[in-house]
Structure formats: structure tokens, C-alpha cells
Symmetry: C2
Subunit: 465 residues, 2 copies
């Protein structure tokens, strides 16, 4: 983890006093609160901030940032803490701005298929709110993450193959800049050619350029027909090749998820299901009744040509939800395979034609490492995760995992792919950005310096200091 010297220093008492005076009980330096905000859902060791502010409005975030900016103290935005690359670790201390109380849904325009929410609203909360409108928001990382956090990490999930990632689904953002000024990145028109695309600049910037406090999102009509099915394959290669054929044929599948046999077994146990223990694809089809039928026919023929089993349907809304919740819980299910282990989810993404080769080579490499690491993937996007299950007391396992991961990233980049499809850079991927971006990394540094000259916004993330 090539992070430069961490200039961690205690919060000045002036800043503490000012924040405490302003926020009262919503300012905390309690150990439990700091610890909770210093750890995400990943293997990265905790690094708590010096203090936490629970903000309730954009103006309060701006006030906090202004006070921190004056003292040159780091500001780290925090949504649900469900990130996987240490994106919220307080590497240099500072003040974490917890946005979970900014959980108001500000506007839903059914007629424009869009809405605006505060950054702390979670994806499930939004979909719950939308349930009587006939609309839904599709982007679904495993966790019930905040929409601000999802925008900040350019999250995606199982529906991205059809509906895109946060990159495609954020219409506009409200952002508090490093000096406390507040901007809105764009208007709400579906398209615009009016200057630089600030929305896309802040989507995926992981709090390093500003704090996202409001998010305008695209919504979609709930399709007339939704059908979900699982299909088991003799080997993982055949499953992946079915994905490739489906994507190349342009079938508009809503979800096409890859799960290896080990994960299927783990998911069965964890979620009390009884799917066949084999490399499996989980599909969801969206459309009109007839459109879904057509999609199913096409995909079924691709699968059966490659030895796929009969489709096992998840009948009805409830069974479907159960299936996808099980898929979303796959990370926890695999952790349960090795009690007491630490999970490390890798995240490469490659052009779809290279996916079979990338997975096969990675599996070979993994077998040689002697490590246990089930595979799951948003295969339709060319994105997959190994989940290393590591003994926290055995540093040698971590070293071996590091080597497998580094080789996998190298392989993905050689295939014109990326070191992270959806988890973000955080601290875990920073060392790979030179190989991935080359000279372009200097442009990212120039942007960072321009918008955050004192490097107070989530320092050490994306661009190691």
C-alpha cells in the first residue's frame, strides 16, 4: 500500500471548540463513535478520525468544511461505511462528516423519471419510497449503501449491464467544495452541452474533490414483466461463455450474474436455499411479456449449447427478492465458509471478449496460491470479484493474496481493463493507478490540486499523497 508519510496530528482545541459550539451533541470525539467511522466493510485496518460531525443540511456540511479548511484539517465524508477499499479511512486524522441524517427525499418527478435526494438516503429507502409510483432506481451494490456514497464511488452492482452505473444514472449533484462553497454540478435536462461535465467529475471522486450532499437521479418505470432464473453449468468457462454470447448478441438482460460452485454452496447455506452446487448464472429479464419471452428463448439457447441446465425460475416477487438478496449476501455467505476469516474482495473489470481468459488464468493462479477465494461477478459488464478468505493471524496468507491480486490487476490492465470496476480506489488500489493510467494520472493530480490545494478532502484516497 504505497501511501506516503501520514502527517497525522491531533485536532486543535480551537477547531474542536468551534465545532462543538456549533453542533453540540452532533459533534463527537467519543472513542466508539470515532471507531465506527474509521472502519468500512473491508479488510483494511481501521483508522478513526479525530472527531465526527453529524450534519443535517448542506449548509451544515459547508460550515464544517469551512472551519476545517481554515485549520487545514482533513474532511472525510461518511455514508453507511459499507465501502470495500478503505475509502473512508481517516489516514491523516481529521473530521468525518456523517451524512446519514441527511436522509430526506426532496423531490420525485414521475413525469420526468427523476428525483433528488439527500446524500444519506439509501438505495432501499428510495425504492421503498417509490413503491407506489411504478418507478424504481436500479443501481444496487450489495450493501444498502447511501446514494451519496454510491455516487462518490461510482458504484454499480447487478443491474448495471442494462441500466448503467452511477456514472449513467446521476443527473446532477450538490457538492460542498474544499473551501466551503456550494455548487450544483448541472441542471436536470437529460442532456446538455453547456461546459465541462462536473457531474461526472464528482461521480467517482470519493470525497477527494468535495462532499456530495444531494443527488439527482434517473428513475425507470417498473417493467411490465420481470422474470428471474438460475442456470447451472458443468464448468465456469461455459458459464462465462454464455455471458459473452448474450452480451455480444445484444440481448437486453437486466441482470446476468456469475457465481462459482463454492459460492453457490455458501449462498445455499447462508440463505437457506437449495440451488445445485455448480458454477451458476443468475438472470433477470425485464420487458413486456413477449419481450421477456424472446430474451429467455435466446439466452436459454446460448446456455444449453454450452451445457447449461434447465432454467430454475424464481416464481413471483417474493422468491425473486429472496434470490437477489441471497446474491447480495454472497460476500457474507462466503465469509461464513471460514469462521473468523477476513474477507478481501478484489474487483477487476475487462472488455467482455477477454473475460473467459481472464477468469480461467486467474483461477489457475489462485489454485497455485493455495488460498481459498470464491468467485462472483457482474459478468455481463466484464467485472468479477475474488473474495479471499484470509486468516487474520496469518500474514503469509495476506502476502499471497496480495501477489494473486497484483497479478490479476496486471492481467486485467494488459487486457485493456481496470483495477476496479465498482469498489473505487480508496487506499487499496492507489498503487495500481500508474500502471492503469500512466501520464493521465498527472492530470488527475492537477485537478485535485486545482480544487483542493491544501489536500484536506479525504487525503490519501485515489491519489496517494
Amino acid at each position: 500500500m504505497a501511501l506516503a508519510s501520514l502527517r497525522r496530528k491531533a485536532l486543535s482545541s480551537d477547531l474542536s471548540t468551534a465545532l462543538s459550539a456549533r453542533f453540540g451533541e452532533r459533534f463527537s470525539t467519543a472513542a466508539a463513535v470515532r471507531e465506527h467511522h474509521g472502519k468500512d466493510a473491508s479488510y483494511h485496518p481501521a483508522m478513526p478520525p479525530d472527531a465526527v460531525v453529524f450534519a443535517e443540511t448542506t449548509a451544515e456540511v459547508a460550515e464544517t468544511v469551512k472551519l476545517c479548511a481554515a485549520a487545514k484539517v482533513p474532511v472525510i465524508p461518511f455514508g453507511t461505511g459499507t465501502g470495500l477499499e478503505g475509502n473512508i479511512l481517516a489516514l491523516e486524522g481529521g473530521v468525518t462528516v456523517d451524512l446519514s441524517r441527511m436522509n430526506r427525499i426532496l423531490r420525485v418527478s414521475a413525469g420526468d423519471l427523476d428525483c433528488t435526494v439527500e446524500a444519506g438516503v439509501t438505495r432501499k429507502q428510495l425504492n421503498q419510497h417509490l413503491r407506489d409510483t411504478g418507478l424504481f432506481f436500479p443501481v444496487d451494490p450489495g450493501a444498502d449503501a447511501s446514494l451519496g456514497g454510491m455516487a462518490a464511488t461510482r458504484a454499480s452492482g447487478t443491474n448495471a449491464v442494462r441500466y448503467g452505473t452511477m456514472r449513467e444514472n446521476v443527473l446532477a449533484l450538490t457538492v460542498v467544495l474544499a473551501d466551503g462553497r456550494v455548487i450544483r454540478t448541472s441542471r436536470r435536462a437529460r442532456k446538455s452541452a453547456a461546459g465541462y461535465d462536473l457531474t461526472r467529475l464528482f461521480v467517482g471522486s470519493e470525497g477527494t474533490l468535495g462532499v456530495i450532499t444531494e443527488v439527482s437521479l434517473r428513475l425507470y418505470g417498473i417493467p411490465e414483466a420481470i422474470r428471474a432464473a438460475c442456470c447451472a453449468f458443468p464448468g465456469i468457462e461455459q458459464a462465462v461463455e454464455t455471458v459473452v454470447a448474450t452480451i455480444q448478441a445484444g440481448v437486453p438482460v437486466a441482470r446476468i450474474e456469475l457465481i462459482d460452485a463454492v459460492t453457490m454452496d455458501a449462498v445455499n447455506r447462508y440463505s437457506k436455499l437449495d440451488y445445485k452446487v455448480a458454477p451458476t448464472l443468475m438472470f433477470e429479464f425485464h420487458g413486456t411479456e413477449r419481450g421477456v419471452e424472446e430474451q429467455v428463448e435466446q439466452v436459454r439457447s446460448f446456455a444449453s449449447e454450452r451445457g447449461g441446465s434447465a432454467f430454475r425460475w424464481a416464481a413471483g416477487h417474493e422468491e425473486r427478492n429472496k434470490l437477489w438478496q441471497a446474491r447480495h449476501d454472497a460476500y457474507f455467505a462466503t465469509l461464513a465458509l471460514r469462521p473468523g476469516c477476513e474477507g478481501w474482495a478484489t474487483d477487476v473489470c475487462v472488455p467482455i471478449s477477454r473475460l473467459p481468459e481472464c477468469i480461467v488464468e486467474t483461477e489457475r493462479d489462485l489454485a497455485q496460491s493455495g488460498l481459498m477465494a470464491p468467485i462472483v461477478g457482474h459478468a455481463g459488464d466484464g467485472n468479477f470479484h475474488l473474495v479471499f478468505l484470509l486468516d487474520p493471524k496469518n500474514p503469509d496468507e495476506f502476502k499471497r493474496a496480495e501477489r494473486v491480486n497484483a497479478r490479476m490487476v496486471e492481467r486485467a490492465i494488459a487486457m485493456d481493463g481496470t483495477c476496479t470496476g465498482e469498489h473505487g480506489v480508496g487506499v487499496g488500489k492507489a498503487e495500481f493507478l500508474v500502471a492503469e493510467h500512466g501520464e493521465a494520472l498527472s492530470v488527475m493530480r492537477a485537478l485535485k490540486r486545482a480544487l483542493d490545494p491544501d489536500n484536506i478532502m479525504n487525503p490519501g484516497k485515489i491519489l496517494s499523497s
Copy 2:
């Protein structure tokens, strides 16, 4: 046109000598060449550069930029010169880099549904090249523009309602920066969370942050079924309301274009067609045979509920091409309505629910102005154009057009829309960016300063100096 003082100065003889020595006959200061590169397809008065370099490789563009940077001389990229907002005018003189000879298609990956082309390749050239692959590239501004230019202005056109704009369809760019360094903005994976979205930063930057020399693009399979039809309406309001109903219902129309009666008449004359002279929607439906049938049924019912005529089908490939070429030529068709006139195409875009109100109020305003300005629009995106037909010898007409346009932009922004849906800012929309972006404009300025500190990259565009 609130452009600050133009510090135009002649090219130094040192720079001329160096460029001439390097590029020989591909460096020109001939008046005819300069004039050709100083005018686009719009009403903006010509402003020729001091010299033109015809570059053939990225390395040559980089060399040119380095020489200009050393002399602090402006660099203006030029594709086909078909822009509509003066995006290529040499406001401060300098060297135009003509990219039309960079017209090689570098790679087509049918398996990944993508390709890489040099910036000078035009959209028609690409689709011609793809014709045996079963793939196509959908983004189609009226002109046969270069793909580099289309990326630079974040172009869209008639297919954007289904396939998105250049924002959604550019995967990666090769860019020559203001100091001559060359970067690639991204890898080719369909999604990535690896740092700042440089691709989207350069898409729409109009040459003000660097020169785009290569473009990687998404491609799509040619649908099994394609059908195109026209539908006439009793009034423009009913036509627009049919669009709104179609979009709100989530019907995946590929094209849904609005043409008013005056334009329909002009198009009939110009393209030798005989469509009914009435406010008209032009549709194209893409999908499977059954899918297209379903879409047609839905849209037909929305139209007939609002007084729409029976659909008149453009049967077969050839007739369909004729229809869309006629649509693309609508600008020239309307110009022919008033011989000797100058055309001024406006370009607002609003959230779809506000489109009927925006168009109705604009028409009222226009009627009061006494000007002639047919309306066409990519109505499915909420985007429409008035094309003012102005007597170049009558400055009062230009003044009245300016007022109508300013009010229309104000109206669009008040509806949370934008001053430009697809033409870009160039010099024509710079004055409206404060109203549209407020404080966010300062962020754009900071980005510009960071990447082009000497303001040599297409100076005066987007951000007036």
C-alpha cells in the same frame, strides 16, 4: 456576446519557420485555407487563424502544440467545420490543427461492441466501414461531422433518446494536453471506478483543455427490425404531448423527432417529399419484430388519442434513409425558405414534462417578434431548435432574434434546463453560463487554469476570457 478583449497578434516568424520546416506543405498561411478554417456552419462571423497545420498523427499534433505552447500561441482543433456555435473560430488568432487527415479506423472489436478511430473519421465513414459487421454507431448530429469534433462538443442527434449522446458512447480518448503531453483518458472496460472520469471531462470540452486525437466508441448490433413512420398532428402541442406520453411510458423508441408545419413544408420542397404539411412526429422503432410491433401499438395509441394521423411508413432501407436524410437536411431546407438569409439555430433542452409549456411559450414569443423561425427538435430528449431565418443586411432582425433567444434560454434555465442541448457553448452561449451554472462556473474556470495555465487551447470558448 460577452467576450473580453481579444489579444490578437500575428504569428511570430520563429514559430512560422519552425512549423513550416516541420510540416512543409501541410503548414499553410494561405488566405483561402485560413478562411475555410475560420468559419463554421453558423451565423457567427468568420475569424480565421493565422495558420493551419494538417496533422496526420497524434505525435504531429503533440509537436504542433509544443511549438505553440513555447510561443504561447493559441491552438484550435478543427474537424469538419460543421459546428453551430462558433466553436472553431480563431478569436485570438493562432494555429488551427486540421484533423481531417487523421481518418483511419484503428480497430473494430465486434466481440466487445466497440472500436477506436482517429479524430478525423466522420460518423458516416465509420458506419460505412461497419456495414458488413452487423454493427453501427448511432450518434448522428445533422452534419457528417468528425467523431473527434462530436466528442469535443458532446454531440447527440436523433438517436440519443435511445442510445445516448457522445457522453454515453465514448469509452476512452487520446488527448494532446496543453503542454504537448499525450494521455489516454481511460481503459476499454465497460465500467471502471479507477479515479476521476477524464473521458467525460474531455467530452464536451470543445478543445479548451486539449486536442482529442483518437476516440474509442461503443457500437451496437443493428436491430433485427427497424421501422420508421411519420404522424401528422392538428397542432404542435398535441405532437409534443404525444412525445411526453411516449417517454413517460418508457417506450424504447430509437427516434422521436418533432417538426413544425413550416419545416415540414420546407423539407418537402428541399428533399422532394410529399408529407402532409402539419406539425409532425418522425419515429423510428428498433427491436425484434415483435418488440417493434409492441412499441408501434403503444405509440400509435398515444398519438391517436391526441388527434394524430395514421402512421405513414417509410418502407424499406432506402426510403428510411431518405426520410432521415431529409430530417438531417431540415436546417438547409429551412434556409432555402428565405433565399440569402442567415440561419441561427437555437438549442435549449428542458426536462421532458416542461417541454410542451416551453415550446408553446416560445412560439407565442416568436409570433410577437415578427421573425421567421421554424421549429425542429429531438423532442424525446426535451431538446428543440428554433432556426431563425435572418436578413444579414438587417441588424434589427438579429437584435430581435437575440432577444427571443435570450428569453428562451432564460425560460429553459428556469425550468431546470440548459442553454445548449447539443451544439456546445462555443462563443454563442458563453454569456448564459453564469445563469445556468452559478458558482459551478468558477470550478470550470479552475479546471481550465489547471490544465491550460497559459490559456492557449481554443481560448475564448466555453469560458469567455
